[in-house]
Each structure stands twice: as C-alpha cells, then as structure tokens.
Amino acid sequence: MHSILQRGNALLAYVLSVLACLTFACFISTVFLNYRTEVDISTVKILVKNVPDYSASREKNDLGFLTFDLQTDLTHLFNWNVKQLFLYLTAEYETANNKLNQVILWDKIILREENAKLNLKNMNAKYYFWDDGNGLRGHKNITLYLSWNIIPNAGFLPNILGQGSHAFKFPVEYTTSRI
C-alpha cells in the first residue's frame, strides 16, 4: 500500500522524535540539581623566581612555584547526565598591572565510574604559574580555589565553584637557586 520509502521515512521520524524526547527528559531531570560541594585546599611549599618567560614575552617575569594538598569527595556529583567532571585549581589575585589575574595551576579529568575521591598530598602544579609582569614577589593575598566544569550527556555546561578556598602569601625574596 505505502512504499518502502514512506514506511522508512515514518519509522525514522518516529525513532528520532522518541530519541529527542528521551534526551530532553534526561536534560530536564538534572537541570535543577545543586552541584556544589566542599573542598579542602592547603599549600605546602611556596617560592617565587624572576626568570625570562621564553614561551611569551622573553622578558623577566615572576614565576611562582607551589605544592599543595587537596581533599574532596565528588562521587555524589555524578548522575545519569554527568559524563565527565573537569576539575581545575585556579590561583586568583590582583596586581598593580592587572585588576584580575586567574591562572589555572592544575587540572584533572574524572570520567564517570572513575574514582572521584581525591586525597592529594604535596602535589606539584601542572602548569607554570607565570605572572603578567612582576607582581608575585611578596604578594600578600593569593586565593586558591577548586572549580569543576560539568560535561553532561546532553544539557548545560555549568562551571561550579567549590566551597572552600585557601589564601597564601609569596615570600618577599626571589629564590635564585635551582630547585
């Protein structure tokens, strides 16, 4: 009665609309959840150097070094619409040059089913802590905080700020020796 083409078309349209409805249900069921949780951060060793930044301007810039401890449990953030968490540790501070500086020092991807209980001791930063100028030496108030970007199966991509931050100071003298 109806051609194969018509039947195929009707079937495809139906399958697609069912998939769209399910995806939307998945999205709407998780859109109002609260993804904040507590994080415990502290620094162990802090020093600052003044060396040329060959990756950028080649001028002498302040380069901070630090190791940190981090404890948090993100297991309960996962649900059927969270594919991955992208964790990142940000250092935020103000200098004479810039009203706002944000530098990611460390990041980590946690997929679903992976261990989301973090207990890191004496971790090194993953990325260089270059300042835009010479504003790190003797800086009194640098804030470290952990945030995560939620990657869903389908839906929004929120950036969530962890509860709990850590403020620290840089030493007033540059370290000249190699570490």
């Binding site: 995806t23 990756s55 950028a56 301007s57 594919k83 991955q84 992208f86 990142y88 940000t90 040059n97 810039n98 009203k99 706002l100 500086n101 944000q102 530098v103 990611i104 990041d107 991807i109 997929l111 990325y127 270059w130 835009d132 945030s147 970007n149 990657i151 869903p152 199966n153 389908a154 839906g155 929004f156 991509l157 950036n159």
Partner: protein, 179 residues
C-alpha cells in the same frame, strides 16, 4: 515511476498554485534561516551553534558533537570556561578552554587557551607573533552540549556530492508535490 509523471502535479497547477509551491519551498528555507538569525540575536553570537570538528577536547567533546554558544558582552570571560575563538588565517573556529586570564582595570582582557586533550597550550595555534587572545577573537562561550547531532553536517562537508544530492532532492520534492 516514470520521470514525466513526476511533473504531472506541476502541469496540473495554475500560475497561482505554482507560485504558492515556490513560496512554500521559500518558507521552508526562510524558517530555517530566520530561526538561525533569531538565535544569533538571542545569544549575541554570530554563530550560535557549532559542530566540534577535532578531538582536542576529548573526552568531553568528540567529533560531531553540537555546542550551543552565547556571547553576551556584559558577561565576563573567566578561566575554566570553554570558548570558541577565531584565529587570523584559519577558517575554522577552535573550541578550547581558558587556561590563564589577565584583566586590566579598564576592562580589557587577554587570555590563553588550551585543549583538554592537548599537552601544550595554544600559543602554537595562534597567528604568528600572537601570544594572547582578546575579547574580539571570541565567537562565543559554550553553554549547552548535544552529542552526535553534528555528524550530519560533518558527513555533508566530507561528501559534497551527497550534500548537493540531498538538497536537490529536497527542493524537487517540495516544488513538485502539492501538499
């Protein structure tokens, strides 16, 4: 079915019906166009929906995933956000995460990006001599995510003949068949 019989519907139409047929085809095209332009206005981004073309953000985004962007001027760019930016000399916009950001007191920002799946930051991808991105490079910020849907456009771009065939068939179908 004979080829000539395809056009029987057209032959039986009078001028008004034929003009209406052309208009209804025009309205299908216009609806898609107007939805796109409407999204541009609502999101403030010149391209509110982009398809992920590379694996540099895996495992978060794979080739063929769809991203919804916004680009409101009053919303500041922050570290950890996923931005879509254009680089001089490259046709295809890049989707990467903001790694470092410096904001002057007059509001001008410069920032550095990195793909989650890349081991180094994006300075090698920028235009020669370019060290930082600024707000004018940004096409939009990723706000929503939908998997797989963009595969259709990737296939169409990879097989241009397939794209033309689909478009011609659609146009013929709409023009020839009276609803």
């Amino acid at each position: 079915m004979e080829v000539s019989s395809l056009f029987d519907d057209v032959k039986r139409m009078n001028m008004r019906q034929f003009y209406y047929q052309v208009l209804s085809f025009g309205m299908i095209v216009s609806s898609a166009l107007m939805i796109w332009k409407g999204l541009m206005v609502v999101t403030g981004s010149e391209s509110p929906i982009v398809v992920v073309l590379s694996g540099s953000m895996e495992p978060a985004f794979h080739r063929g995933d769809l991203l919804f962007l916004t680009n409101y001027p009053e919303e500041p760019v922050r570290v950890g956000e996923i931005v879509v930016f254009k680089v001089l000399g490259r046709d295809i916009p890049i989707v990467h995460r903001v790694l470092k950001l410096h904001e002057k007191s007059n509001g001008t920002i410069k920032f550095l990006t990195k793909g989650d799946n890349n081991s180094v930051d994006d300075r090698g991808l920028y235009a020669p001599g370019q060290l930082w991105l600024t707000k004018s490079d940004v096409v939009g910020r990723a706000r929503g995510f939908l998997p797989y849907v963009g595969m259709v456009t990737i296939m169409m771009n990879e097989y241009p003949n397939f794209k033309i065939a689909v478009l011609v068939c659609l146009a013929c179908y709409v023009l020839v068949h009276r609803e």
